[in-house]
Symmetry: C2
Subunit: 593 residues, 2 copies
């Protein structure tokens, strides 16, 4: 490909919108452009990367025995009402009406469509199991789109759906997808962790894992244990797999983590509650500064609406409530932080000075709060707190559960060693859905014995455009992104210093042909630009190999640079003959024809 | 691929929605399913066909030097307002609002997005020319979606946009695209005609051609001349190319076609108008029956609103008004048939008995009416017509033009021989847009001399899903679609009569491996079904070659059938050895590895 014929609008400066390193380079190297918040155009180089990622995903899906389909973007609202998600999905679901005022959703995911398909077309165990997948555009009206392709409103995704006769069959598919996802991420050159996760909006009755590409810009906190290899996302960390740690009565096992609160403090106040005047002290930080004690000695009281009912949740001052865990403990369908409207009916609640003592609301107590001995908390009275509070004595422990997020240094739920936090980008997610959708939408089949059963489903998503963004983040360097050869828009950048020089041009064309014949893709910078401009652009574009054809062309000499050499600490280009350059390319990576 | 693992829900009967032969077979062979009116899911076999068509399109675009991009589906309404199309496109444009109530269009086409891109990124002649293309999902809210994939509301299209410094550069790209489109249609195995066309909603200042796949179900009428090869769509037929036949004054050259009206009839009435009582006779057909004369002797008067003003258009009784031609003659922006509201202000107009004599409206007269001598027309009085009407004498010929559609038997505008009508499916369309969009949206570049110029654009669309549907129409047979090898979901169907029979299974697997090694794709019917079911499904699926492995397996004998043999009149399968079968496949078509 001739660079002069290609639209590659490189930029000297990144636009103001760029809020992550990889994103800045994607913009500066002319690979993508923003059309509207969270909505991007892929320009020729960017499109080639995306196609490479798509190809890898497709090959691995096919290898895993999945069948490719293409399901509509526009989905009738009726289907989403059947599953109950038309309301549940909230404002993130893009909605529109057609000319007959019929309502549609723009698919953020395709469980409804695919379950309806199975309901209509699959009626016997003999047609099971199977897995369908598609690669296509998805829509999600993010409240706050950011980091370019990482959190967009229109994005490319591979989604897959499996249908099985029973859980055992599902397990096999789940394992196959697990392997496929690992292979995809490895082929994309990504450093990643597979973590236990929570099912979120998709819902599900079984196991679920996320594949996290490590990156500082990642919006997910990954909790890992260096000792035993345990890994989970923050929502899930500390809870046993498959949602089994919280039983139906809402009673969770009490955490084995020893509390760090001061247990042996036999101070003057003894066991008696002490009222403290705390004028204007409303936050944990303010309280901590005011009384000169650590936040871990305080009890934080938060009010939620659980299915419309007001409840209080207690966690330690240094902990945060995990909504998902709280929701499970309460067995609630919907859980939101109580807003002003909800509080309006309760004039006695003194926000800023809330506490469990004398509070006339259902209370859920975090396990770490339950074992505190001399805690400080609000007195439900303006400008007053209590110290020397003892849970179980000063307020009842009727509903104790693990309702907080893990914190760094917590004990690993598997081996007890200290947990460590890292940041990750969720690039893939696999779920055992079970019969949630088949039940809701009435999909069924006859088993071997003629009994009507609901197919056991799984669903598997991988963000194709997000993979591209994650690679950009991990491979962002000082001068641009150093694209891995598997996804790079071209393998080799040929850079003649002067395209008008006949010897340089000849040698460039010879090299191009030899490389193409060997199965490599080649970009030739044939532009009439100064060498400095060409080098700068070449670094921005970041192909795995650069070959500069300059004055040495007369003697068949070129300058060779590559990511591999750079990784070996060789920052400069190396002089060699054109033939050696071709050999170098072949040694550095092989491509399939 | 094992058929037992694949979702191929064949049907014994076509669903009621199926309104075209190819569409019926696509449904019956389990390749597509309707999700909502004009919105389809592609099941595994259908998806493979679509991917094959996509591959052909992509290869030809790349060969023509185009660069692939991916532009957003969601497009800010502001862009469409800049081009003026947000209103103009009408209800066919799907619209939605995001969570911030910002308006978006779902792209039916991408002129706005791509012109905005060029406006931002291309500022010098040195970056021109270039052509961008994409393959993706488009939306058009058709009033009446039908014929399955032929006229859908969500469909797959390849659209391309070229930017040039001047018209000459555009000409070269236009020719390259013309060649690419011809190659695509040939590789898809389609019988097609390239016709002169009208620019329609996209608008444009220059040449435009459509590529029509011939099919009875086609919604377009193609006008051709067997003698000289002239071909145009009906809207365009008889008008010279590039809109030059109608000059700015609205005066078109008078058609050279001789009128077939009776010119020499010196009957009793002579030149005097005759009033005829015609009680309740309102249509041309009724009038023709009533007076016993051909429709070609009558003048039909139609009322239009041209930019809000009421005008009358006169054509012969056997002709139809061509709205686009009338619009051009009037120089009108908007033209619609006058509705009741428009007529409410003109109580004297007696619909059903309209005629030019004494009509107090601007009148446009078709050239064929202008040369009539003894015509019959309405008298603008209920239940009365005039006969013996002579245009020019009985009413003025102030505005004469060619405002009717061509009719079969008309003289060819190039050679004068008789025109013939056929039906076609518009699968491709290439336009010279000129500077319509660059002007409207303020895209410009500096030319060699530092002058600011508007890039001269072209746009080029080919319906990818529509190509699939057109192939289905042309290759629909008695038992299914006989897919051409270039797009067939698999090349060879291996049909063991009994998968449980070890010899049959062994031979099948051997054949499969040999064919795969030779670069062919293979579908193996390993299902536990009766041979009759397998044969029926095999015909529905319609792969180019079927090899039946039955009792002869023990002796290495198989039965070989193929589209090629069928086309040679050989309807039965031929017995041969498995090795001969492999050789036959290789002789019938080659594939690229």
């Amino acid at each position: 490909m001739r660079q002069s014929e290609m639209l590659v609008p490189t930029l000297r400066e990144a636009p103001a919108e760029a809020d992550a390193a990889g994103h800045r380079w994607l913009l500066r190297s002319g690979m993508i452009r923003q059309l509207a918040a969270g909505i991007y155009s892929y320009l020729p180089l960017g499109r080639r990367i995306l196609l490479n990622v798509e190809r890898i995903v497709r090959e691995e899906m096919d290898r895993a025995g999945c069948q490719e389909v293409l399901l509509p973007i526009m989905q009738p609202a009726e289907l989403w009402e059947e599953s109950g998600r038309y309301t549940q999905y909230g404002p993130e679901l893009m909605r529109l009406k057609d000319r007959h005022a019929r309502e549609f959703a723009l698919g953020p995911t395709h469980e409804e469509v695919v379950t309806a398909l199975a309901r209509d077309e699959v009626n016997s165990y003999r047609k099971l199991p199977f897995t369908l997948y598609q690669i296509g555009t998805k829509f999600r009206d993010e409240r706050r789109p950011r980091f370019g392709l990482l959190r967009g409103r229109e994005f490319i995704m591979k989604d897959a759906y499996s249908f099985a006769s029973d859980w055992e069959e599902l397990d096999r598919t789940y394992q196959a997808m697990n392997t496929a996802y690992s292979r995809i991420l490895e082929r994309c050159g990504l450093e990643y962790i597979r973590v236990e996760a929570d099912a979120g909006t998709i819902g599900g009755q079984g196991e679920t894992h996320e594949f996290m590409a490590l990156a500082d810009v990642g919006e997910d906190t990954i909790v890992t244990c260096k000792h035993c290899g345990y890994a989970a996302n923050l929502e899930k960390a500390g809870y046993e797999t498959s949602g089994s740690s919280v039983n139906n009565s809402g009673q969770a096992e009490v955490s084995a983590v020893p509390t760090t609160a001061d247990k042996a403090d036999g101070n003057a106040e003894g066991d008696t509650l002490v009222r403290i005047q705390t004028p204007g002290v409303r936050t944990i930080n303010e309280l901590s500064a005011f009384v000169g004690e650590d936040a871990q000695n305080m009890i934080k009281t938060l009010l939620y609406q659980a299915d419309g009912q007001l409840v209080a949740a207690l966690v330690r001052g240094d902990h945060e409530v995990n909504d998902i865990a709280l929701k499970q403990v309460l067995g609630a369908e919907e859980l939101i932080l109580a807003d002003e409207t909800a509080l309006a009916g309760h004039p006695k609640l003194t926000v800023g000075f809330l506490g469990p003592i004398g509070l006339d609301l259902p209370i859920v107590v975090d396990a770490d709060v339950a074992v505190m001995e001399h805690a400080i908390t609000g007195a439900n009275e303006v400008d007053v707190h209590y110290s020397n509070v003892r849970p179980g004595k000063d307020f009842a422990l009727d509903n104790v559960g693990r309702i907080r997020f893990a914190a760094e240094g917590d004990g690993c739920p598997t081996c007890g060693e200290s947990l460590v936090f890292t940041k990750g980008i969720e690039v893939g997610h696999i779920f055992k859905l079970g019969t949630k959708y088949s039940d809701a939408m009435g999909a069924s089949f006859l088993d071997r014995n003629g009994r009507q059963c609901a197919p056991v489903m799984g669903c598997y998503g991988i963000g194709v455009s997000r993979l591209m963004a994650a690679i950009a983040e991990q491979y962002a360097g000082e001068e641009g992104i150093r694209w891995p050869a598997t996804v790079a828009p071209y393998h080799v950048h040929l850079i003649p210093m002067s395209w008008k020089d006949e010897q340089q041009r000849e040698l460039t064309l010879q090299l191009e042909q030899q490389l193409i014949d060997a199965g490599y893709s080649v970009l030739v910078d044939d532009r009439d630009e100064r060498p400095g401009v060409k080098f700068k652009d070449s670094e921005l574009i970041g192909l795995p190999v650069q070959v500069v054809i300059g004055r040495g062309a007369a003697e068949g000499q070129v300058e060779f640079g590559s990511h591999v050499l750079a990784a070996q600490g060789e920052s400069k280009r190396i002089s060699m003959t054109a033939q050696e350059a071709v050999i170098q390319v072949k040694e550095q990576f092989t491509v399939r024809n």
